[in-house]
Amino acid sequence: MDLATSVAAETDPRGFPSPARDYFHGGIDLNRHLIRDRTSTFVMRVSGNSMAGTGIADGDEIIVDRSLPPRDGCVVVAVVDGELLVRRFLRHNDGQPALSTEPSPPAAGQLAKPSELTVWGVVTRCLHHV
């Protein structure tokens, strides 16, 4: 995945490179600023509004880094019942991990059982459509 490049866009139908290309060093490269490690970074698209309180809305793209450890309070992509969900990752007082749509710990009944909870990756950015 490379946000800055697209094969189609670079394919000049005549097969010649733009003469300016070798001198073009680019402006701001979002890859450099938004991607810490490209081997572990993925972009996903959000469906649903349950995380709107965190500023993540339906249709937004999120940047997910698989290699970061999930810390208490961070937003993660988790696997629950075979589905990818974006949720806030919280640790209960007893240290058990839990998922919530809210920034505060969920009521006991809302807890995903740890055995059913796999963190897929940590959300580092939201590309919110304004």
Binding site: D2, T5, F16, R21, T39
Partner: protein
Amino acid sequence: MSQDRIALVDVNNFYVSCERVFDPLLEGRPVVVLSNNDGCVVARSAEAKALGIATGTPWFQLQAQARAWGLMARSSNYELYGDMSARVMEVVGRFGTWQEVYSIDESFVGLTGTPEQLGKTGEDIRAAVDLHVGVPVCVGIAATKTLAKFANRIAKQNPGLGGVCDLGAMPAGHADAIQHRVPVSGLWGVGGRTAARLKLMGIETIAELRAADPALIRKKFSVVLQRTVMELNGTECIPHTEERADKQQIMFSRSFSAPVTTVGAMEEVMAVYAQKAAARMHDDGLRASAMTVTAGTSRFAGGEGSFPAVTVRFPVPTQDPIVLVRAAVAAMRGSTVPGAAYLRAGVMFSGLEPADGPEMLDVFGSGTGASQPGVGGVLGEVRGRFGSQAIGIGLGGLAAQPGWTMKREHSSPRYTTEWAELPIVKA
């Protein structure tokens, strides 16, 4: 004492594992990935293997039972596999003193360390690939490539080893016992015909081949098999050819004698490499569904590294060198960082199928087809740069009847390479 060793790292059931990263429902279920046009099985999950489904089984033969088995099928998603491959290779390469990418899901890496450190590094590689990319790998560590391949096989077939087998660290006599049991056909590069001829000489197991006289083997067979014998005895003698051709992939990659630093020079490299690989493919009577081009700077030099990897899927499988060269040049042009010092590059064709019959017309008009205007310009450009022998006229192109399109009924999205097809995560 520190030792130099070779690790062979490969992804278990690579295509299926890639699909599972983005579709957790496929976890634990039998899954197969189908060839072009959803023809036959090219990859199987462990569960699908356990059902007795063989590679190459036509999909229509499985369809009737698929529901009862809970069998899931996916069309080949070469864009996804190419991108995931590049990620795996980069993670694995970080652990090695050198790396030779051997196929879309395998690479040799050089490791240095004490026996304890080597085993730990193998476990670290496995954990890092799982964490970063989300696919499972097996690691075989030994003194030679042939033995590293053998160790990898042991790691794969013995789940108790946790995916890592360091041949040198196995209990005394253990590896030897396995070599006495496993037939020579289980070795890297030893085909069925060679195995049959060896059997006539009374050589059936790996241990028997290891004990054979290398000079005699060379006389009766080839220098290739002689190398295998020497490698089994711990003498490293298979060079880093960085070339591969078999039923699954054709690959041409090289390290440069001097760094390539301009986009133009990299384009020339791509044109030459794509033609080399295309010539091989043509000789083998194959055509490709997809092409992956890669390049890399040194991981040890200062400054930022650049490891471009772009996968292009062809609208219809092709062996047309014009199409292949154009696609390779265009794909790398957009990904090369001007000024970066590239030390290696490669071109790999995957999704190979027999090129029997003429090539299909590109009914999608995607701009990669040989029938598009402008091809002559490229052809002339390549000839001008590389001489008249540099490129041949393509064989296929216009002879076939249009009228059908590629069947990809079970295709997953191109999750990592297309902005419109990103994985959906529910909120």
